[in-house]
């Protein structure tokens, strides 16, 4: 029988290895799987390449992972956010490399990676510094850049509700990169406020079908980054 539920976040991230590429869901704090990230900090894997739109906030969640020195490369669109104080130091000291990708190209690269598309063409960033080094090709008189699909070893995501088959629905704008990253990682791990029995989710409204998900873990009352940052929390 198919049961993808694991007991806790520690078990969920136990096999993340040094040097892994890890996609982490969320746009700012919306959709950030803080409990899974904290479990990953405790677990100890290092030299990670992390894919996320941002670089975290304060000293919790993704920012805490970066602060702990575990991230050797960030692939993101917007590393410079309010309260994003950890990444600049790691970047300037050369500890953490940065691959800056326009947000829509980042999203599409992840979708392509999950959909078996090795490369596609996009008009975004033509003629800009972020288009430098990319192959340029003209279609119908307009220039486009070739972008590569992006895949990962793991994805850590936050859903609202999941079931034992790994079907997931999200909450409002916390959906963002989650459904894409779920498709692009070898091992997709979802924390959800509730994990329900098979058949409780309406087949018409499932956003991530279970085929893309390897493990689900219940985190009934997930913490919010902004609350932790406002309280001055520093993890661990």
């Amino acid at each position: 029988m198919i049961n993808k539920k694991v007991a806790n976040v520690e078990e969920a991230v136990a096999d993340v290895f040094d040097g892994a590429t890890v996609m982490i869901g969320g746009f700012g704090e919306a959709g950030s799987p803080i409990e899974l990230i904290h479990a990953l900090i405790d677990q100890g894997a290092t030299d990670l390449t992390v894919v996320n739109n941002n670089t975290g906030s304060g000293e919790v969640g993704l920012a805490a992972l970066i602060k702990a020195g575990r991230v050797s490369k960030m692939i993101c669109s917007y590393p410079r956010s309010t309260n994003s104080t950890v990444f600049p130091d790691k970047y300037r000291s050369g500890h953490t490399e940065l691959e800056l990708v326009p947000q829509g190209t980042l999203a599409e690269r992840i979708r392509a990676g999950g959909a078996g598309i090795p490369a596609f063409y996009t008009p975004t960033a033509v003629g800009t510094p972020l288009g430098e080094g990319m192959e340029v090709r003209t279609f119908d008189g307009r220039q486009y850049l070739m972008a590569y699909g992006l895949t990962a070893d793991f994805a850590l995501l936050k859903g609202k509700t999941a079931d034992y088959h790994g079907n997931v629905v999200y909450n409002k704008t916390a959906r963002n990169f989650g459904p894409l990253m779920a498709t692009a990682a070898k091992v997709t791990i979802v924390q959800a406020a509730s994990v329900v029995s098979i058949g409780e989710l309406d087949p018409e409204v499932i956003v991530t079908p279970g085929i893309f998900v390897k493990r689900v873990v219940a985190v009934p009352d997930p913490q919010h980054e902004s609350t932790l940052v406002a309280a001055g929390v520093s993890y661990p």
Binding site: I2, G116, H165, N167, P203, I206, P209, I211, F212
Partner: protein
Amino acid sequence: MTEQKEIVGLTRDQMAQRCALDIHDGSYVNLGIGIPELVAGYVPEGREVIYHTENGLLGMGQPPEPGKGNPELINAGKKQVTANPGAAYFHHADSFAMIRGGHLDVCVLGALQVSQTGDLANWSTGAPGAIPSVGGAMDLIAGVKTVYVITQHTTRDGEPKLVESCTFPLTGLGVVHRIYTDLAVIDVVDGQFKVVELSPGIDVDYVQQRTGATLIPLADT
């Protein structure tokens, strides 16, 4: 007076049943039209398999009871089906992202010809005037991790379907992993057909005579 042994090989259902043994618990599977559809009826006790139909449903169930069908709940063969608990609907691009992206574990397809390098021809005989129709066959074999073929060992005219190289238009190159016929289970390994199992009462010479390429027999493996 000795009884003349009648060589018959496996029935369609037996081929499907044999194939079902190789599908692991928890697999995500796409079944082609025809004999492959029968595989769903033979999942061994204790295993749970989730069926994908490329027209937008994961968790496809059995056909509906007579009179209870829904013309908007169909499978890739356009027959009415049901959705099991835990099912999900999605659009065609997401469905083929599952296929092309390597998320399905197994697909089981029929064949016109399979070559010893694993090339598959199953969409067109190339006959002049025929209406070419491909559907999702090329996507499935290009994307699904493991491709199984179930087919009669020969055509109705006794021509081999397992051949050195396909003469019909190809569906894909070097994609078939294992073939289940009425006579044998045969793997494609390093550009050769390797007999894995013979059907009851069938010997390898009998199979070899009906195969258009050299078989590596069981004994040599």
